[in-house]
Amino acid sequence: MDEQAPMTMAVDRQDNLLIVRPEGDIDLASSPGLRAQLRELIASASGRIVVDLEGVPYMDSSGVATLVELLQSCRRDQLELVLCRLSERVLSVFQIARLDGVFTISESLESATDTNT
């Protein structure tokens, strides 16, 4: 049996904008796959990265850690990181971890991708 679960992720590349949409629960089974995919993607990215979490019903702290790692990479590479469309359940994990003020979190995809703000 595989000890990891695959993480499906749609990727939308635009000029200075990368939108990624993981699909499914992000837990210790799927976060290593997510981390690997994100690492590869940001290596060639510029401008802003939007992580659209609409398709993620559940996230545990291994998912949060993956996104904190992404945030640190983005800061190092001078990329902007925006998370959007978090369900109440997923947002509450960031709140419990006191990280809801550390990330830029947007309610809609429109405002997350609007580079004039």
């Binding site: 595989d2 000890e3 837990d27 702290s61 850690a65 904190v68 971890a97």
Partner: protein, 159 residues
């Protein structure tokens, strides 16, 4: 597991045992969510309890068994009557008896990956107690009230 001299624990309402592999986490969460709902817990509370249990199991997988996929993890889930209906969840392993002082939350001001599990567990559950098990390994006992003190007692059954 040749430890026949150990007194077996009495059965809980629901006992679950599985290997120390993250692949089982989603099954445990869904089971617990449905169990809490049937016990009358508010869905938001139930989601939080599932997160706490997920974090605790992840810690056994990563720290207790150090990533070894062949350790055994047991969950004992019961409904108690203690100042109102209470959910009790024990998580048991046969890994090392670690120094209890090493199991603790870090300073959250520092933003870095990891170090959130114990904080999340303590934030969500009303009682959290780590102890050493007879025969080796750790027991984490957690409790959470089952009753929703919201006045609209009717819980919506949901699919």
């Amino acid at each position: 597991m040749a430890t026949p001299e150990i007194t077996p624990e009495p059965p809980a309402d629901l006992n679950v045992a599985f290997y120390s592999r993250p692949i089982y986490l989603s099954a445990i969460r869904h089971m617990l969510d449905a169990f809490c709902e049937r016990m009358g817990m508010d869905p938001n509370q139930s989601a939080r309890v599932c997160l706490a249990v997920d974090e605790a199991i992840c810690n056994v997988i990563r720290h207790g068994y150090g990533g070894d996929p062949n350790g055994r993890i047991e969950l004992a889930i019961s409904r108690l009557e203690e100042n109102g209906p209470t959910l009790q969840i024990d998580i048991l392993d046969r890994a090392a008896c670690v120094d209890l002082d090493t199991i603790r939350s870090r300073d959250l001001e520092e933003v870095r990956p990891g170090g959130l599990g114990v904080h999340i567990i303590q934030e969500i559950m009303t009682e959290v107690e780590y102890s050493h098990r007879e025969g080796g390994g750790m027991r984490l006992r957690m409790r959470h009230p089952l009753a929703t003190d919201k006045s609209e007692g009717s819980s919506k059954p949901n699919g």
